[in-house]
Every structure is written in C-alpha cells, then in structure tokens.
C-alpha cells in the first residue's frame, strides 16, 4: 500500500494527537457543563475550584424544587414520543407508496414536501397563535404534537423513502405474485426489511422533536411547556446558579446525546436523503 508507505514518523504521532485534540476541544463545553453540574452554585464561579472541588449531587436532588424539572420533562416525553409515532403512522404509508408505486408526480411531491421545510416558521407565527387560541388548543399537548409532527413530516418521509428505495422492487413483486395485498406487503416484507431504517428515522424524529425550540416555546405557557421552554426561561441566571443550571441542562440533553451516539451512521443517510452513504 503506497499510502501507508508514505506515512512519515512525524505524521504517525502528530496525526492522532491532533485528532484527539480537536475532538476534546469540541467535547469540552459538554464536559464542562457536566462537571459544573456537580459543583455547588457558590463553587461554580470560583476560579480556585475550577477543576478541584468536592463533588455534590445536591443540584440534581434539588432539580424538582428549583426548576420543576419533571413537569417539563414529562411534557417533553409525551409530546416527542406522540409526535414521533404520529409522524411515522402518516409517513410510512406515504413513503411506501412513493417508493414502490411511483407515479409521474412523485418526484415533484417529494420536492414540494422538502420545500415546506424552507417556509420560515416566523412568517406564520401569529396565525398559528391566532388559530390555536381560537380553537382553544393553545398550550395543549395536542397542539405541540401536531406542530412537531408537521415540521418533521417532510424529513421523515424523505428518510423513509430513501430506506424503502433500497429494498429491491423484485421482492415486493415476488410478494405480489405469492398473494400479498398492500397491507400484507407492508407487514410481511416492508417492516421486517426496513426495520433498521424505520427505527433510526424514529430516533432522529424523536431527537428533533425533543430539541425543537421555536414552536414549543411560542405555543405554550406552562401546561404543555417542554424542556426547551424551561431552559430558555432561565437564560440569564446572572452567574448565581451555574451549578443548578448545569444540572438541569445536563438532565435535558444527556439522554438525547447518548441516543445520538447510537444512530450517527443512520443520521448521515437520513439527513442527506440517501445522497451520501
């Protein structure tokens, strides 16, 4: 291998060090947040306790008293899980039909769906508030679920479409010859074969729902408010509460970051709509 032969001694050592250095720099803010979450609020701002301090769990223990964390977390879980499921229920049949029974308009429909993602949310902010209040659904789980579903639907359909396209059409046709109807094709062939793709699509949709910070903040006050709203509401603690703010932030992002680690491969195929694999 010529490429190996060219590697000099210098780059053999410098390369990994450089790569590790860059990775650590990028991870540092997260590390710092987690570290700070184990400091008391008073210690958190003292330079002498930068790295050496007595770790405490008090910030986590007081999360409910300080921030009512679980109330927001529950809302986040309810809305993200429901919206993800709803998106899949609407998206799977649609992507299935597009992948295996494409008509001449299918490409245009897909492009149009993607273009709805480009509609600036701010442009329709007030009508949404107006409609929500008029229909009496402002600050309800239902509203948040519907909006999360709608903003993720185009990406979910695109992702599923790219996964489904990878299934050879012959297999679906063999199923047709063997006596499957449409529902049978989905149940017997599509879902078993595209299970990995559907799961990673669901995971990504869930992450996007969980992290959403425009509509969830603007269409809720308290009853349906999610973690984004909680953090945004404590945007400027004036330095007094770094410890407890770090703890609640860590609790808000921790599960998602870990989930994300498991789906990085699928993330690429999904987010680039299959154009990069």
């Amino acid at each position: 291998m010529a490429i190996v032969a060219e590697t000099t001694k210098f780059s053999k050592f410098a390369w990994p060090i450089l790569a590790w250095g860059v990775a650590l720099i990028f991870f540092f803010p997260i590390f710092w947040m987690v570290l700070t979450s184990f400091k008391t609020d008073a210690d958190a701002v003292k330079p002498e306790f930068l790295l050496w301090f007595t770790p405490t769990l008090e910030n986590y223990a007081n999360m409910t008293d300080n921030y009512d964390y679980w109330r927001f977390a529950t809302n986040s879980i309810i809305t993200s899980v429901s919206a993800t499921l709803l998106t899949l229920i609407v998206g799977v049949p649609c992507a299935y039909a597009m992948a295996f029974d494409p008509s001449r308009g299918t490409k245009d429909i897909l492009m149009w769906m993607l273009s709805t993602k480009m509609l600036p949310a701010a442009a329709v902010l007030y009508p949404m508030i107006f409609l929500a209040k008029g229909l009496g659904i402002y600050d309800t789980h239902f509203l948040v679920i519907m909006v999360l579903c709608l903003i993720n639907l185009p990406i979910v359909i695109w992702m599923l479409f790219t996964y489904f396209k990878d299934i050879p059409k012959d297999i679906i046709e063999a199923g047709k010859m063997d006596g499957l109807n449409t529902w049978g094709e989905v149940r017997e062939i599509l879902i078993p074969l595209a299970w990995g793709g559907i799961a990673s699509t669901a995971l990504l949709a869930f992450i996007f729902c969980w992290n959403e910070a425009y509509w969830t903040v603007r269409l809720t006050t308290i009853d349906a408010a999610t973690l984004s709203k909680l953090i945004e509401g404590n945007r400027a603690p004036e330095g007094l509460f770094f410890g407890r703010l770090s703890a609640v932030s860590t609790a808000a992002v921790g599960p998602i970051v870990i989930l994300g680690w498991f789906c990085q491969k699928q993330l690429v195929q999904g987010l680039t709509f299959g154009a990069v694999k």
């Binding site: 050879p168 012959d170 297999i171 046709e173 047709k176 010859m177 063997d178 006596g179 017997e188 078993p192």
Partner: protein
C-alpha cells in the same frame, strides 16, 4: 393446464409505445423463450403476463379465461426473478412456504411439499439458512422451489441465469430443462442470450422494439430466418451479412452466410482475404478475416485446428445451398 393467449396486447409508457399491438399464443406444456436485445420489451411482456404491469390495451387469456384485470396472485402463475427476489429475512424453508401460507394451505401439506421440493433441488441441508448465507446457484434453486410448490399453470422466468457465472449457468440451464420435462408445465423464459434460447426452447419468440420478428422452433429460426434481424441475432458466431455487388450476383439486396458454412483454403476459393485474429478453441477455430472487399470483417468457423497466422492470405468459399438471401426490405427471399 397453461395455455396463454395474448390478444392485441399493447403497452405505452408516457409517450413511448414500448409494445405495439401484439398477438401470441403459448400452448400448454410449451417451453417458450422470449429473446431479443436489451430494451426490446421482452421483460415488459413477461411482466404483463404476470400481472405486474398494466396493459394499455388488449387482453390476456389463461386457459380461455380473461385475466387482464385479475391481480398477479390470482392468475395461477409463478415467477422467478433475475435477482431471485428471495425474502432476505426468512429462512429457505419459510421462503418456500410463503406462497402456500398466503394461500392458506395447512402446515402438514406445506411441509410435505417443501421437503419434496428441497429434495429435488438439493436444498435439504440448507432449509434453515437465510438467503444471505447461500451461493448464487443455491439462491436460484430456492427461487425455483418457491415457484414449484405453488403448482402454477405456468412458470415465468425473467433472465434467471444472468447473475450466475458461466459454469453455473450451464448447469442451471440443464436443471431448468429437466424440470420442464418432469413437470410438463408451460414455461415462459426471457433472456437476451440466444444460446440459452436455442438450447432450451420448444418455441422461440424473437422480439425487437416490441415487435415480434419471428416465432418458431430453434432450428426453424436457424435455417429459415424470416428477416435479416433474426438471421443476425440467432446463431453464434454471428452470420456474415454481405451487401452490394456480391449480393446482386445472387439476385438479392443482401445475402447472409453463417461462419460454419464457409470452407477455407490457402490456395483457391471464391473470396480472398487476410487473416486477422484466429481464436483456437480446440474443437473449433474461429478465424476473423479482413480485406475481403465484401464487409468489414468476415468470421469463419472450421472444425478442428488450422495453421492460420496473422496476415496470412486466405480463400473462402460459401456452401451455395446455405446462402440466405434478403430483399431491400430485409425480408427473406424464399
């Protein structure tokens, strides 16, 4: 039973007429091969018979029953795909059982049929494997097994051997022919390989641009091609086609002579040329001859071996009774 009739079958994709209205009858128990260059519509035709593709116009009958609007699974046909189309998430046993499960056949009967099929296809040891763990030939056999257990009125094969390597292809070809002899069921087989067509078919249907050029037994096609296209397509190496003055001598717009119907001499003959490349196969030798003044390159096939070197002068003489004559419309002159 498996008599299939196509009446004025037509297919249009967008603005393109892939298959102009076409009639064809396939008798019960026949092995019919659709052959033609890629894009000639042979696969589309097969898929229309299967019910996987709509008809733009016309009708398809199976055993005198109009099935044009009948869904694929209700036509009583089984199909073997080029990619085998096995269900990758199911074991071989489940793959073969699948059509029977869909038809609601009880499990005891299912197992009996699976075992019988597996035995005849040498798959008994592989029943619990997944398709991914099988070789190409084995996958092909599973696909055939899945078709057999349905006891269809007819088998449809869509280029089933083109994903196999050359050695396996010959073996599978024989297996499919034996299967046909054993089951005596109608089989429709699509291929672009004229060798497969010649060796397997009872009846060959030569297609070009959606049009049937000729229907007949392999030897009919070989001996009396209806037109220049069939003449050039059937037979290997290809027939030498000559136009111009030499053809006019025979009272035709063009004449054709198969490589095996030319005799070679180093000293005298009808036509003179220069040896280009000689391919020595042992049993035969193919000599490619240049500078005959008749066509770009003429191919000769002779039995056994001959000492012909690049650049040698060589004389060729056609067997006069084997010359095919075609008119200006490329049709055969009887």
């Amino acid at each position: 039973m498996g008599r299939i009739a196509l009446n004025k079958v037509k297919k249009v994709f967008g603005d393109v007429e892939v298959i102009p209205p076409l009639d064809l009858t396939i008798d019960d128990g026949e092995f019919v091969v659709f052959v033609g260059p890629s894009g000639c519509g042979k696969s589309t035709l097969l898929r229309m018979i299967a019910g996987l593709e709509d008809l733009t116009a016309g009708a398809i009958e199976i055993d005198d029953e109009d099935v044009t609007e009948v869904p694929p699974s209700k036509r009583g046909l089984a199909m073997v795909f080029q990619s085998y189309a096995l269900y990758p998430h199911m074991t071989v046993r489940k793959n073969i059982a699948f059509p029977m499960r869909m038809a609601g056949i009880d499990e005891a009967t299912q197992n009996a049929k699976i075992d019988a099929a597996a035995k005849s296809l040498n798959l008994t040891d592989y029943l619990d494997r997944k398709p991914g763990q099988l070789s190409g030939g084995q996958r092909q056999r599973v696909a055939i097994g899945r078709a057999i257990v349905r006891e269809p009125a007819a088998f449809l094969f869509d280029e089933p051997l083109s994903n196999l390597d050359a050695a396996l292809r010959v073996g599978m070809r024989l297996e499919i022919m034996e299967l046909h002899k054993k089951l005596e069921t109608t089989m429709i087989y699509v291929t672009h390989d004229q060798v497969e067509a010649m060796t397997m078919a009872d009846k060959i249907v030569v297609l070009q641009a959606g049009v049937i050029e000729q229907v007949g037994s392999p030897l009919e096609l070989y001996h009396t091609p209806r037109n220049k296209f069939v003449a050039g397509f059937i037979g290997s190496p290809k027939m030498n086609l000559i136009e111009g003055a030499e053809a006019e001598k025979h009272g035709a717009a063009s004449i054709g002579i198969r490589p095996e119907h030319l005799t070679v001499s180093k000293s005298e003959g009808t036509w003179k040329g220069r040896v280009g490349v000689a391919e020595h196969l042992g049993s035969d030798t193919f000599i490619h001859v240049h500078d005959t003044g008749l066509m770009d390159m003429m191919t000769v096939r002779i039995n056994g071996d001959i000492d012909a070197r690049h650049g040698d002068t060589i004389y060729l003489s056609p067997q006069v009774d084997q010359i095919h004559r075609f008119d200006a419309q490329d049709l055969r002159i009887a």
